[in-house]
Assembly symmetry: C2
Homo-oligomer: 438 residues x 2
């Protein structure tokens, strides 16, 4: 699903089956061995053998009696979520957030780096390298770093093809900057695509459905999960909703196109509108704020009953709605989850978006499309960065179990002698180390 999956490390059939068990337990919670066997169409003895290995590796644990067949009780198995953590990094245009999460997506620690401008981009990258390695050094159960970057992100090349309003990001090659930066593997994904993974991995209701995560923040992006897989396109440039034109004769965009959706409803576009008539006299203090804070101010004023603010929110919601109609016609997902800064406008925005979709999408599709706001406990893109790492854990649980064992041993060794150092992971192009190096 992420960069790594393109070139997976070879796995034995037992490792593939252990990954299936991990994924099933992640999706369904605590299950008995018999339930797992039924779910995976494997025999009970096979599951018992695999489960024994996974308990040994501290990937799963037994959790006491649970109701079994007939009147018999059976022992439950669950993923040992607390045994593994991932470090997540969200790069937005002017903001960088770092978070520590467990495998279930619970936020354990969150921090934000100072605001960025064009000039401070290179320093911000160095800061991330330093801060994240500090996290990793402190905790041997951190198994991977997930990074979310603005799109269109050319995932094979490692660079962003365009960042409207902050072109400096185009100079950063994320694969080069982060691939060997840490002593655990790093996985990089476009922001909205990472957000879609977060919804899929961390919201049980979305775990096995076609889903779109519609990021309306400093940029406008989209991540779509179709039959269990992210839609990437040939270069990772697919689902770039922000640059799909809603008016071929509309506003020009830095991407070369005209009428790009992003020009009408991103936080940047909203902030610009707030600094122009008729809103500027009314919301004059917005010019000194950053884009996110300006939007928060607008939504607050609208909520307080300010009619001009409400008019602007309605105008924005219409455009968010046109984007939703495009999502329905292009991807026909079962769920559209709206997140990031502009989702902060809340229920009034959601209701107007739903009305636009009801009016403009085919009834047969509208009736079966559920549109909602993101309800994750932290920023959906930051949790997306975590999800990118977790999804790789679920693909290669045995690899990460060995990694934690090694890191824990090294950590103990370090505390005892202060001479053993952690060997750097031998990574190329963001891929997992070759198996023989583990």
């Amino acid at each position: 699903m992420t960069q790594t999956a393109i070139d997976p490390i070879p796995r034995s059939q037992a490792e593939i089956n252990q990954a299936k068990i991990a994924k099933t337990l992640h999706q369904q919670g605590t299950l008995s061995r018999a339930q797992i066997a039924r779910a995976l169409h494997l025999t009970a003895p096979a599951i018992s053998k695999l489960a024994a290995r996974m308990i040994d590796q501290e990937l799963i644990q037994e959790v006491g009696d649970m109701p079994g067949a007939g009147n018999r009780r059976s022992i439950g198995l669950r993923l040992k979520y607390e045994g593994y953590k991932v470090c997540a990094v969200k790069f937005a245009r002017s903001r960088i957030q770092i978070g520590l999460f467990d495998l279930a997506g619970h936020p354990l620690q969150l921090m934000e780096l100072p605001s960025i401008n064009e000039a401070s981009i290179p320093k911000a990258v160095t800061d991330v390298q330093i801060e994240v390695q500090k996290f990793i050094n402190r905790d041997p159960t951190i198994i991977a770093v997930g990074i979310a970057v603005p799109g269109p992100y050319l995932r094979n090349e490692g660079r962003i093809a365009l960042v409207t309003s902050m072109q400096g990001w185009r100079g950063i090659n994320f694969i080069e900057a982060f691939n060997d930066a840490f002593t655990v593997p790093t996985f990089i994904e476009q922001d909205a695509r990472a957000g879609a993974l977060a919804q899929s991995l961390f919201v049980p209701a979305f775990s096995s459905t076609n889903l779109a995560y519609y990021l309306v923040g400093e940029g406008v992006g989209l991540g779509v999960i179709e039959q269990g897989n992210l839609i990437n396109g040939a270069q990772g440039g697919a689902t770039e909703l922000g640059h799909i034109s809603i008016d071929i004769n509309g506003k020009t965009c830095e991407c070369g196109n005209q009428g790009c959706l992003e020009r009408y409803c991103s936080a940047v576009a909203i902030h610009q509108a707030m600094c122009q008539p008729p809103y500027v006299s009314h919301l004059a203090d917005a010019s000194n704020l950053n884009h996110a804070a300006a939007c928060q101010l607008l939504f607050y004023r609208a909520e307080q009953g300010d009619e001009l603010a409400q008019t602007l929110v309605e105008h924005i919601a219409d455009y968010v709605g046109y984007g939703c109609v495009n999502i329905v016609n292009a991807f026909n997902p079962a769920h559209i989850v709206i997140g990031d800064i502009v989702a902060g406008a809340g229920q009034p925005l959601l209701e107007r978006v739903r009305a636009i979709v009801a009016k403009r999408a085919l009834p047969a599709l509208n009736n079966q499309t559920h549109i909602c706001l993101s309800h994750l406990p932290a920023d959906a893109t930051l949790m997306g960065a975590a999800a990118v790492a977790v999804s790789n854990f679920l693909l290669y649980p045995t690899y990460f179990a060995r990694l934690v064992q090694k890191r824990t041993m090294n950590s103990v060794g370090k505390q005892q002698s202060h001479t053993t150092t952690m060997p750097p992971a031998n990574q190329t192009k963001g891929h997992l180390p070759r198996k023989d190096n583990i």
Copy 2:
């Protein structure tokens, strides 16, 4: 990839591996046993055993010596394309075409039913049922029927959600009408999606790439193959490019949206433009033609140097180009293949489309996107209907081999005694018969 794949019949590991061999031979042509073993990461003895079964079943055949390792010669294996045929049906708005194809997509026989209007739709459906069964009765090597229908096609329900300019089609439930209509399995797919399958299965250069088939005919549709799979969406309503708006304030569409691409560059829209000023006085004879013939007339006049006709073709090409920009931003395919009626405008259209994409898509994406016209030997959607059937053959070759053996025996029996009749296939909802019924 098609309707059936949702609920596949259970297959043994040997059957799965035979399907892999069939697919590899289809994609790569003649291969030695050793080459197949390498391609599939299976052992040479395993391949020998599987190949022996497939030769017995007349799925593959040996084709003499071919260069092997060192100076040794080895025997080649190829799919026995001529042993199997599929019957294809294309439903367009006002036209129905039927074709007989071999597994490699070679057209063996083509026919067109009389033009359809709203009133004659039910009769047309009956005619197809009768005509196709005649084909099947004549030839026991026909293994399946593939049907392509206009989108948005709700593939689980079996009905078309909307057909602009010919709403009568909405009354037809294709699953009910065709599922039990024939003595071989039937597979139904949306037209452009079927066309994408045809490009992928029958054009070797496209066999393992992300690909979009852009159907610009009586409707405007799109089929996208992403990492080997068709993008369907939750209900089969995805990739409905014709109803993605290029102007939120543009022309109203029967779907409820405004500015749908289809309203600007479909054959219907072109025909309408030809019957209005300034074109009507110039191309007055177009009003008596059907949409396809009107477009052909326009393209012929443009090719002959008629400036007004050229202006209209350029205008249309721009809109086809805006659709292409949307394809790039939404799906980032490696190839965009333009087909159906409007592709008949040829090189001048293609060049203008490429220029629009070069101007409006991100350079990093445009540089890696190959745009061309369809070069299949027959109508891409009709071949798509064949491809839908062939793709199921490649998934379940052993099932279809048994079917042909049974049909051939019955056919011989019939000729001898005229008493044995072919039992109808036990199909539900377009799925393959359950394994125990084979």
